[in-house]
Symmetry: C2
Subunit: 285 residues, 2 copies
């Protein structure tokens, strides 16, 4: 358990995920400090025992003392922050993140950090439809998947520390993927699904719909409530992979359209049986 | 409360919905009998106090005594059953159903029934991913929507009785729609969503996906486990309306695709803000 020697944690970005990480780690006895933009978020987090200490400043001592740093900010903010302040970390510090797309970001961050400071990327597959530290809840990690996303530059030790972090936070399954494979998975499982939900919600403006809806529609559009600033950035970071997944899905949809249009019952039923058998594997254990 | 005078209920088709109706009505003191294909389903339902009596036969006395009859079978089975046995109902009997598409079916049934026997269509917007009387659960109606679907031929009394039935079963919102309007709503809210879930599930066969999935994908594909016999029939019954909804949705999806492809952040964010604001109305109260 490599994390046992990393007790001094710094969270950068105290939103829903940053706050939930802080909550989970503090509960396990870590010393958790935070740097974030809004003083109110720090006040809230201290009052509610989510962090030990926080500041809105670039506090050189706080940054230099941190043994494990977790970035829970938008990709562009992350890159800018490291560019400006990366030199403040001490040797041996491990940095990780929660960013939903890895591609170029991981290389870019790794190349900017001083020698002896290691960035090991991670993606916690958990979230809520509401944001903000006020909605922090470390129970969202229970039963969820956690992906460690190392490059060739990462040490085995850092990979282990990052996996330990997932374990400590209570994730159910910890896996390791390359940035390329991660981004393909995420394009399909997360980005495409958000594209579908948004498109569906935008395709009908009948205000009466809500009176007649069932849970199918509610479940399908739960993620249509979306942080437009963050997701448009994530979509563009992963553009080519996402577009490919959108095309494959569209072909599948068009195939079903044609079957219905042609009254091809066998074709329809074959797709339905395939989807039924595949979906069964995704039920929570 | 018109239903107070209709105490003798007959359920035709003892599956998930038929069983859940039976369970809810028996709990409220109705006498509930059933006709269904499989003797095992009847035995199960009697043992578990879901019905009072049941048979696999066309029992003329049972049918003739029924005051309220609920059909919970596929559209084609419903039509065939009424064609063969509709003459057995007594004057004053009210017939209703749970069929997910109304269009031609309502007219066809109403035209076949003898004078004095009234069919008032209804659509309970509730269900589960598992079928069969063994999964009966009248709590699925709680908080759900219920739609009464009268034609010009229906009496005010029958509409009231059918609405009462929804109330007695515990539905949260009872509304009244014409068959045409109903089928448009359902094409969008229910059929299109099933098309999307099936298409998405069929568009990627990577067996590793399940290790990396989050709840977004699980929620979006919950209904990809689908009864292929029933849904292919429902899709074709409502073909032209469904195809139109599929086209409108596809346009919306293509628009988002183009925004991403062109790096049009404003376009993306505008769609996301629209979907976010619209989706908020659909949260359960």
């Amino acid at each position: 358990m490599g994390l046992i020697i990393k007790k001094n944690v710094l969270i950068v970005g105290l939103g829903l995920l940053g706050g939930s990480y802080a909550m989970g780690l503090k509960r396990k006895g870590f010393c958790v400090n935070a740097i974030t933009l809004d003083r109110n978020d720090i006040d809230y987090a201290i009052e509610n025992d989510i962090i030990d200490y926080g500041t809105t400043e670039i506090d050189e001592k706080l940054i230099g003392d941190a043994e494990l740093v977790i970035f829970a900010v938008y990709p562009n903010v992350f890159i800018k922050w490291i560019k400006e302040n990366g030199h403040l970390f001490k040797k041996g510090t491990i940095i990780t993140d929660v960013t939903g797309v890895k591609g170029k970001i991981v290389d870019e961050i790794q190349n900017m950090l001083p020698d002896g400071v290691e960035f090991i990327a991670a993606h916690p597959m958990a979230g809520r439809e509401v944001g903000g530290v006020q909605n922090s809840d470390d129970s969202i990690f229970k039963g969820a998947n956690y992906i460690v996303v190392p490059t060739e530059k990462n040490s085995q030790g850092a990979i282990e520390i990052c996996s330990d972090l997932g374990n400590i936070l209570g994730f159910a399954d910890i896996s390791v993927l390359t940035p390329q494979k991660h981004d393909e998975m995420i394009a399909f499982l997360s980005q495409l699904t958000h594209c579908i939900a948004v498109s569906l919600m935008c395709s009908n403006d009948d205000p009466d719909l809500v009176r007649y809806t069932g849970d199918s529609f509610r479940d399908l559009t739960r993620i249509a409530k979306i942080n437009d600033e963050m997701w448009s950035e994530l979509f563009l970071e992963n553009r080519s992979v996402l577009l490919k997944e959108m095309e494959t899905y569209r072909e599948s949809f068009n195939k079903l359209y044609d079957y219905i249009n042609n009254g091809d019952v066998d074709g329809m039923r074959e797709m339905m049986r395939l989807s039924t058998s595949r979906r069964k594997n995704f039920d929570r254990k």
